[in-house]
Symmetry: C2
Subunit: 248 residues, 2 copies
């Protein structure tokens, strides 16, 4: 479906079953009323960002938009990606959040390392949530990027799915282009802070099974490496697979 | 060499042969004197962004930094990437420039299409040049990203190396993860504007040999698709190749 012909796509915190009526958040109401210029009676698609996807029919369009849920379909993810990410320099984390959400990453876990710690930011989590929701609408995804509070490296590593495949960005590792991204299950990428991991941290990460992966032939900024890893992972779904056509 | 131990890395518009003395631009002088806190007698690396790489010895550090060229090595690129890119929405092109430069793309050619035209921006080219130079320093590259003035699609396509391999971002194409990025020669990626190419434009592009490539399973913003393509290409160099260790 070309973008312009598809119904508007919004995020709904809780998606009740078919037949229920819901009121959208101020943010999503504004988006429908003023950006999409929706009218009463229009259809819309709504996702809860946890795999639920509903067909909605708008019943009230105003400061608050209300809708009737016509049908709901709920799905579990078949593949997920977590990015454990050291602190980028400056204000580069906002667009990292936006781009990871577009690329379908499930969790961004900021990690505090010996050579780099995330700075506290006022209203940061709320701003990141808004950016993630906007990217979810844009890319019409069913799973919302979750941006967690920063954790120390050891704690962040301990929170990862024990069955996940794990990588660490490393310029002397095998090339990403020679590693096939998993089509199923959990994948975890780790990118150190600008000054890198120290030897103890690196040993810890490698002992947990993170495999080195080179993302190119230059020194990448933290957020660029995080994004390149997510793009590598994202390219393992959608489009046609070698086994035949398999579109989303 | 860990970043902190390597000499400062600067861009020099013209790199004369060994023995010559050069004065750095105000921008690079500021970077050396105030960001790197360099002193007279310190070594530095200088590139002209066209493959030249020099060892410099600083002779004057002040408002203008001067240096003696101790040695120069000149190289031609073994692989290049051009991105032909439709207009992104809003002010998203600045970071696209920065990220493409980090990933080693040679040319960003903005393309004007029927459904999307690049907006003129005051001092845009100068700002993009500064961003590209900063990314070149950051990633210690020898080739500077060139950001060209926007061209109509047909003109942009005509300017491409006739021997280049060509792709077009297309959600129903084969997955990028199933396509090996070229290790040599010219590669060209094309990303349409937010509203897409129209059918005539698409036919034109395909008739010139651009092969479809899916970059993931979601709808990506223009700049995210451009960056995902560049990350795919970039992952085809550096690190270890399957033929054995081959580091930059």
């Amino acid at each position: 479906l070309p973008a312009e012909a598809a119904p508007s796509y919004v995020w709904v915190a809780e998606l009740p079953d078919a037949g229920a009526r819901i009121a959208l958040s101020p943010e999503e109401s504004h988006y429908l009323a003023h950006v999409c210029r929706a009218r009463v009676g229009d259809p819309a698609s709504g996702t809860d960002g946890r795999g639920g996807l509903a067909t909605l029919r708008l019943t009230v369009v105003g400061g608050v938009v209300e809708a009737r849920v016509e049908s709901v379909e709920r799905a579990a993810p078949t593949r997920t990606a977590w990015l454990l990410c050291g602190a980028p320099e400056g204000a580069r984390s906002d667009w990292l959040v936006e781009k990871l959400a577009e690329l379908g990453v499930a969790v961004l876990q900021p990690v505090d390392c010996r050579r780099g710690v995330w700075k506290a930011g006022r209203d940061r989590q709320e701003r990141w949530r808004r950016l993630a929701v906007a990217a979810l609408r844009q890319s019409r995804r069913r799973f919302l990027l979750e941006v967690r509070e920063p954790l120390a490296l050891t704690a962040a590593l301990a929170a990862v799915d024990p069955g996940a495949r794990r990588w660490i960005a490393d310029p002397i590792g095998p090339r990403a282009s020679c590693i096939q991204p998993p089509e199923h299950g959990a994948s975890v990428g780790l990118v150190g802070p600008a000054a890198g991991l120290d030897q103890d941290e690196r040993d810890e990460v490698v002992s947990l099974g993170h495999e080195p992966m080179s993302l190119g032939d230059g020194r990448l900024r933290v957020e660029t490496a995080g994004l390149a890893w997510a793009a590598w992972w994202s390219a393992g779904a959608g489009g046609k697979s070698p086994k035949g056509p398999e579109l989303r």
